[in-house]
Symmetry: C2
Subunit: 353 residues, 2 copies
């Protein structure tokens, strides 16, 4: 059985980038076509494209578009313009490390080819962006293959936010595990947290899983504990926006909540992410910057104001799950287990950054 | 300093009942005036009035209105009609025990006065409904006085759903503790869970606390764990819809979640409720019926559909928190501590039930 993606989050159309606007899903499938890095930056900032791996891919294409938009002939000027492009793209969102990882890869191409012409660089940079994407697709496929080994023949699986094809080049991270288990004939029942405030679970995860005919039940975030208590959850699997060297995980707000609940109910808690989401510079999660989002996403996120005017809101987009609550981390290289300070270091391959 | 209620959830206006429509808050203050028990039943069912104690009061007035709507002269016929009225009111919501508790009180008045005329009964039943309300107000005031002793001089307090004047006759249960602590000069900072799906925290709790100039910060439900992790929460206090004899607590979905998180972070977890919320017939929470709500409250609760058509939804309105996670239960009689099977039994006074 061939795995067919429901939808590509981002595609290169020969002379421009196409992005499916994830803020409009699931009710409308609206595509954005652009040849401007400014519009890519805007799309990342406004979450039209989201998910750590997909953000990395978008940044790669944004950088390549920045080069293609350059009208001059001088390499030095191109490089200077691309510094600005990279700075803008990097400023869009602070937490996912894939953004800086992808931009570093693009810069390396620039640095490794100091004598190539502007025209040649435009091609090389576009090739690198495509390569980031195609590698991510292969990475996600492998995450699914490795992780599906951890799924019992019949399994209730709880997941959070969206980690599907939409969040990556294709296949997804945590969701790739679910889909691969399903394709291998395992009977999975998924509980999808709606994931306030932006409802990526309600809007995107249910939509992707329903397209694949996978049994999915939507719950509000605060129902997860009660579902676990009833014995309906055999494992929790989530993605990651950044993983520190010691195994601490930054992921969508509410992930730490689930990790505590999983521990209490003796349920394994798995994190699925490409190695590009590991920040080998960071010794622990304490160093990960946490993005705070606009209060309006909480108070008027549904086209209707739901809280008094002037109310204080605290809306961090991510939280940190300490490594001791993480049963395993699944990457394209396999299943990584504690002690993470040892096992994560061994994942650092010389071909990556 | 005199405590001034922000708003009465329900009031008797001499010949009819006035209810503030809580589904329209905080943006609109719309009042419903009615002399029909059918409309009271409908208001409870549709959550225009909600909160276990307030539901009990509304049921009392509904019963009294049912008597006033009776046009005949025969006591036997009145009693038969009131059997139907009680059955309808009882069917509106299954979890809060205050509903059956209040209806039992009303029935007792009927049974204890078999020889009174229809006219006399109409007066006696209205008096009893008013008494249920005035007793609840006094009960809530005492809950606040007892519970505020548990609040440190400076305290971060996390609460869930709405337990304020709107949820009761006045003052509130958990919120009465917060407000009383504030009035006694303690510096409290409240984190209010928004409480999906119906957002009673975002809509009602913030609104009530802001009216009282109490420092309140709105968070999504899945942010609670991260706020606790940061050391911002000194205690959690919630209400209850039904408490079993062993101290198990049924309350708004997400309460059990908070209890697990509080245990993990070594934060005291308090439940505030009148004795009328204790079901002395029930040996444990396993026997408490859990209301499931309409999936549309999750998928299109904000005037906009947020999930694919046809998605499965599991939306229990309540969960059960096991007694071992409950630090204390605060009632009008004081602070009740484990072992609850002993201490709760001693709360059963002959004048109640």
């Amino acid at each position: 059985m061939v795995y067919r993606p429901a939808m590509k989050s981002i595609e290169w159309l020969g002379d421009k980038v196409q992005i499916i606007d994830q803020t409009r899903l699931p009710l409308e499938e609206v595509y954005i076509e652009t040849d401007s890095y400014l519009e890519i930056a805007d799309a990342i900032k406004k979450l039209r494209i989201r998910g750590a791996p997909a953000i990395g891919i978008a940044a790669g294409f944004g950088f390549a578009l920045g080069a293609r938009q350059f009208k001059g002939e001088q390499r030095a000027e191109l490089d200077r313009q691309l510094d600005e492009v990279a700075a803008l793209l990097l400023s869009t969102r602070p937490t996912a490390v894939n953004l800086s990882w992808a931009l570093n890869r693009m810069r390396c191409v620039l640095n490794e080819n100091p004598h190539r012409s502007v025209k040649e660089m435009k091609e090389l940079l576009l090739d690198e962006a495509k390569k980031i994407q195609s590698e991510d697709i292969e990475t996600c496929r492998r995450i699914g293959q490795h992780g599906s080994e951890l799924v019992p023949e019949r399994a209730g699986i709880l997941t959070h936010c969206n980690t599907g094809a939409l969040a990556t080049g294709d296949y997804g991270t945590a969701q790739s595990i679910i889909v691969t288990a399903h394709e291998r004939g395992k009977r999975v029942r998924v509980f999808a947290d709606e994931t306030r405030p932006l409802l990526q679970g309600a809007r995107l995860t249910t939509w992707e899983l329903m397209k694949r005919n996978i049994d999915v039940t939507l719950i509000t975030d605060n129902t997860a504990a009660f579902v676990m208590k009833q014995g309906l959850v055999d494992l929790v699997v989530v993605g990651a926006d950044r993983i520190a060297r010691n195994g601490d995980v930054a992921n969508k707000i509410g992930t730490y909540n689930l990790a505590v609940l999983a521990e209490k109910h003796k349920i394994p808690f798995y994190v699925a992410a490409p190695i590009s989401s590991i920040d080998f510079q960071l010794s622990s999660g304490a160093g990960i910057p946490i993005e705070e989002r606009d209060p309006k996403e909480v108070t008027e996120g549904f086209g209707k104001r739901i809280a008094p005017h002037g109310v204080h809101v605290y809306s961090p987009a991510f939280d940190i799950t300490p490594h001791e609550l993480v049963t395993s981390i699944i990457t394209e290289h396999g299943i990584t287990r504690p002690p993470y300070d040892k096992t994560i270091a061994s994942l650092r391959s010389p071909t990556k950054v």
